[in-house]
């Protein structure tokens, strides 16, 4: 966990981004979390338990899989897939949740709260709450609870209480609002498990650190397999947790291109988009200064993507900074491109990948043929796509209702 120490120095801000724009009611608690994290991130005992859980519960390390069929079919760069879909609960989310929940436990908390959009982060949080014998309450936009009844039931199955949020547009951002409010009202025994690399310091840092296991492993794995670093790392970007985890250990390797794939929805230039970095502007929301989709008066936009996990009007501050520095590049991928990629990777590799992850796959399909055969791409498959099969069928006009 060396990279942690390094990456976290001076990370309350990332250039002009980041910070702690959060009600005073929470500030003292945020300080406590930050201090606790500062302590535990260097605590051998904490790190041992974290690694033990990552390996023996989350099923890490995840495979770095050489996608032979895709590589041959696309006829350019060699493609490796970092298989976060093979984690317990089926996505990268668990890496972060284990870390934060472990910190909560060390801080003496007995109750976890979290926001969720489609339910992935809620399920991951409910899962770890079981493992740690903690109470768990999940806040989810009412519209999302209705679209995702199955995931609501799944969370309840795992023993979590799910609160439908009826304020605002009743989707993910409103769930974040509600979770923050809940935290305001009860901090003594409660820890807010943030679902992505967003929010006020120290959340973006923690999430960065806990997810950086992705690139820590992939770097080792690619060196073993190929004896050299990749030329490009590609990951999808919702709040940016799997992407920052995929990038972290390559940020100082200037020759490694970093590409984040945002959800362009119906198109970057339409209203139905979630391409924050391309289409958004600097703003302050959900505790951080970063890029947001917002109108000229700073009201946060409703956003759209076929992918529930990318359907967020903001992005983690470190990504905003990497974009500004041009250290990473951010591209929009439309619903159509992502759905095509979903089908493509299923047919070529036999992998049903999350529609979120397929935004990254779609970019690989575009870029790999333009690269040389001795070049290497690592693409993070952030999750599995079982959850998406029904909506892809609907998108294709196939009726799959029972």
């Amino acid at each position: 966990m060396k990279e942690m120490e390094k990456e976290t120095t001076e990370s309350r801000h990332y250039g002009e981004f980041g910070g702690q724009y959060i009600p005073e009611t929470l500030m003292a608690e945020l300080d406590r979390v930050a201090q606790a994290y500062d302590h535990y991130k260097n605590d051998p005992d904490f790190l041992k338990e974290l690694h033990d859980l990552l390996n023996n519960y989350a099923n890490r390390p995840s495979l770095l899989y050489y996608a032979k069929q895709m590589t041959e079919d696309l006829g350019g760069a060699k493609i490796y897939l970092k298989r976060e879909d093979l984690n317990h609960t089926g996505a990268h989310k668990i890496n972060n949740v284990i870390g934060q929940a472990l910190l909560a436990k060390r801080m003496g908390k007995t109750r976890l709260i979290a926001e969720t959009g489609a339910g992935q982060h809620g399920v991951a949080t409910a899962t770890i709450a079981d493992l740690f014998n903690m109470d768990c309450e999940i806040f989810m936009g009412k519209e999302d609870t209705e679209r995702q009844k199955l995931n609501v039931y799944r969370m309840e199955l795992l023993g979590a209480k799910v609160h439908p949020v009826t304020t605002g547009s009743m989707v993910l951002k409103d769930a974040v609002n509600a979770t923050l409010q809940e935290w305001t009202q009860r901090i003594d025994d409660t820890f807010y498990v943030m679902g992505s690399a967003v929010g006020p310091y120290p959340f973006p840092e923690m999430v960065h650190d806990f997810q950086s296991v992705i690139s820590k492993e992939s770097k080792q794995q690619i060196l073993e397999a190929e004896g050299k670093l990749p030329d490009m790392v590609v990951a999808c970007v919702g709040g940016g947790s799997n992407a920052i985890g995929s990038f972290a250990n390559y940020i100082d390797d200037k020759d490694v291109q970093l590409v984040g794939c945002e959800a362009a929805g119906k198109g970057v230039d339409t209203d139905q988009t979630a391409a924050t970095i391309e289409r958004g502007s600097v703003g302050i929301f959900h505790g951080m200064k970063s890029m947001f989709l917002q109108n000229k008066y700073g009201q946060i936009d409703k956003v759209y993507s076929i992918s529930a996990g990318l359907d967020y009007p903001g992005v983690g501050p470190e990504h905003a900074h990497l974009a500004e520095l041009k250290r990473a590049k951010y591209v929009g991928i439309t619903d159509d491109e992502a759905v095509n990629a979903f089908e493509y990777i299923a047919k070529t590799e036999g992998i049903v990948a999350a529609i979120e992850s397929c935004h990254a796959v779609a970019y690989v399909e575009k870029i790999a043929p333009k690269m040389r055969k001795d070049q290497i791409i690592i693409c993070t498959l952030s999750g599995r796509g079982d959850k998406d099969v029904a909506s892809i069928a609907k998108y294709r006009g196939v009726n799959i209702d029972d």
Binding site: I22, P23, E24, T25, T167, Q181, G298
Partner: protein, 259 residues
């Protein structure tokens, strides 16, 4: 700096809160004037935000009504301009930082100064980040009014020491709303504040009845009443301005007795 601090010098201040453009432009202008005319020492005007994380359902609903009326930052400035034709009551804005940020801090503060806005309450701008706005606000003779909560702990002194205008004291855990009981830490917190500053302390969050106002005014320098006022406006009847006037008077009376 501004004259906000002076307002508290010889009385307990009554600071009602209204959401701008709720439910429409004229009502807000009227409400400001009514409150000013019936005892408000400062009127706190909320600039609606799409995602008011620090507000409870009553104020969230008011925001929705304002958005339905087409509110935006410029409309809010227009409301103040119109109200200024009828009243000189000190006005402060409550809004979220992104509203000011997106407008441009400089431009926003200039506009405030032009309209004789005395202060800004920004719930998502804590001490740690306030340097990004405070110098600009001060240049324009605007107080950046800091919040202090019962949970602030060691932060109390740090915040109080740099406060100007007044201190916005959050009286109970949780978001705004009408509550029946108040934190017992309240008195202690105010005592700690008073030890390091003579900037007045107004209490917000949860005040509903004249009795509550009276009780809190006894330990603080002023009371801020949000949800209870917004609820009256929400009724939106022919009697609303009269109700508002009656309610303002009852609060003013309750805290005046003790002054």
């Amino acid at each position: 700096m501004t004259n906000l601090k002076q307002i508290f010098s010889n009385k307990k201040a009554f600071i009602p809160f209204v959401v701008a453009d709720d439910p429409d432009f004229d009502t807000t202008v009227d409400s400001i004037v009514t409150l000013a005319d019936n005892g408000a020492d400062i009127v706190e005007l909320g600039i609606p935000f799409s995602d008011p994380v620090a507000d409870g359902p009553v104020i969230q609903d008011a925001d929705l009504r304002a958005f339905a009326a087409g509110v935006n930052t410029d409309v809010v400035f227009d409301i103040v301009e119109k109200a200024r034709l009828q009243t000189d009551v000190p006005i402060i804005f409550l809004t979220y930082l992104n509203i000011a940020f997106k407008y441009g801090y400089e431009k926003f503060c200039q506009k405030c100064q032009d309209l004789n806005i005395s202060g800004l309450v920004i719930p998502d701008l804590p001490y740690e980040e306030h340097q990004e706005l405070k110098p600009i606000a001060n240049e324009h003779d605007i107080d950046l009014i800091p919040l202090i909560a019962p949970t602030s702990g060691e932060r109390i002194e740090k915040i109080a020491q740099t406060a100007t205008g007044f201190i916005y004291m959050v009286s109970s855990l949780g978001v705004t709303g009408v509550r029946e009981d108040f934190s017992t830490q309240l008195k202690n917190t105010i005592d700690r504040i008073k030890k390091v500053t003579d900037v007045p302390v107004a209490i917000s969050f949860g005040i509903h009845s004249p009795e509550q106002a009276e009780k809190l005014a006894a330990i603080a320098d002023g009371v801020i009443i949000g949800s209870a006022v917004v609820k009256i406006i929400a009724q939106n009847t022919a009697n609303t301005q009269q109700d508002l006037a009656d309610y303002a008077k009852s609060i003013k009376d309750a805290i005046a007795v003790k002054a």
